[in-house]
Amino acid sequence: MSFLPAWKTYDFAQVAARIAGRTEADVRTALHRAPGEASLDDLESLLSPAAAPFLEEMAQISHRLAVERFGRTMQLYAPLYLSNVCSNICTYCGFSAQNRIARKILTDDEILTEGEALRKLGFEHVLLVTGEVGHVGRNYLANALRLLRSSFANLSMEVQPLDTEDYAALMQTGLSAVLVYQETYDAARYPRFHLKGSKMDMAYRLETPDRLGRAGIKKIGLGPLFGLSAWRADAWFTGLHLRHLERTYWRTRYSISFPRLRPHEGGEVRVTAFGERDLAQALCAFRIFSREVELSLSTRESAAFRDRALQLGFTSMSAGSRTNPGGYAVAPNSLEQFAVDDARNPAEVASMLRRAGYEPVWKDWDATYDLGAIDAETAMAVG
């Protein structure tokens, strides 16, 4: 069964109202749960305005849980933008189809050049990103994965939603993980931001992680775009989504990202308030809700924030990100998807982590683990 029936059980506005009605006593109950025992009810409390005064206490629990599970380590990764061509009109995105910008799809040579630049920076984990357009689909992505696979330990992607067969085929070329952001779980507001293109189909997007799970992908990344609707409710629905996926596709790992709306080309979306304190609360709520989920900190945030927030329970962060196709070496000045705030290079971020008592982790995977599925000749029949 997909996530759709579970999602339909809940009304977004009612969830938002329930969260608003949570009390200090509810928050205390949630904070005193044994590790791993927080429920969706507790998540409501932890995300509520009533929990805001408990932020320090939440942060201490979150920090402790993260260190116990992941150690004092931080996984570093970089996005590699392959294309900014997009047939969707999304009012919050710099790649939106109506924006009059120079469009670019990286060629084979350009992909290799960008890959080499990332290797030189030390990256082993790379996230491939594209806009959403038909011809930058399965075949283009399979080719990009093949070109890059031998150079990196881990390749993930954040691209248009695909069908189960497409994901299964891409896994054969070495795909480790897929990030698919729901943007918002609010059915009333979703159509206001998605005016044209396949992204208008909210149900198809909501079921994308199910299709990934059915394909047997090793990791799925979730996340709302904070600021599009009531953030507390969007965060709670993300938790609901996580629980559904964990129980159904139990072999898969999960991560959650916390993108906030950033200034970008062409758009002035009126956003709901989601400040740094809110981001910290959402993060800690998720860590208390799930000890195991990986939590990712973006370069959309400022250096000052990242330097301190990294201890709150995050497990991975991007560094030195370029959000334009060719941004690392081919065409550093092409148009970016959003403006990054932390512009430090990866080595500077790694030094900052060491100073904070964290080990920067460049490699925490091996291509063997992905290519095993296709390497039938060396893999003996066992069992």
Binding site: E68, W250, E359, K363, D366, T368, Y369, G372, T378, V382
Partner: protein, 263 residues
Amino acid sequence: MNSQPLIIAGVEFASRLFVGTGKFSSGKVMRASLAASGTQLVTVALRRVHTDGVPDDILGHLERDRYRLLPNTSGVRDAREAVLAAELAREALETNWLKLEIHPDPKYLMPDPVETLAATRELVKRGFVVLPYVHADPVLCKQLEEAGAAAVMPLGAPIGSGRGLESRVFLEIIVAQARVPVVVDAGLGSPSQAAAALELGADAVLINTAIATAENPVLMASAFRLGVEAGRAAYEARGPRSSGATCAQATSPLTAFLDNSTV
């Protein structure tokens, strides 16, 4: 130092404390912690090291002449992936020792007994010294032993949980019937729990989280060293087991009179 050395696959270990190299805040802290633990065998996750010979954050800080490396296959989900990872580890780290770790479940990291047994059979055929990480399942441990495992590594509690010897009653059976060394792996959160494992007859313990994530990892490593030594000393001091819920009685006080009966 304890009197009887531990021998696995013909290699002698004076220390019965094995230590994992993940989760440390830096290579320097890891190096100092390993030294303080007195360990001679350290596990290294294949996924964390560079397999192309380039020095990395873990191998770059390990004194290779001081520690025997035990690569682990953390991250693989079935026997076939485990075999591929093992071959890569053997080539990259130049050792045929392997901690076989197959947990398809990334949330609780529970080992898969079916795939682990299948992989052990294959890896032994390929000449690996296999130390499989498993549930505290006495029958599975015997099957692994028959498949050629050099030791068995049953869990005390879920990885990283620090809950101690939750599986004690099954560990006692495993220890009682094992013909290969038993290394309690996973879930030990304190030196007293490590001591208890050795006291009940485990041959060694493997610790990672409890040392690496302590406020002072070096001091905690040294505390585990003492705990393990104390537990082993207590085990040796006590002599052969004379009682216990899971052991047969060594003598038969009620029926001994029949031993010499001739009619």
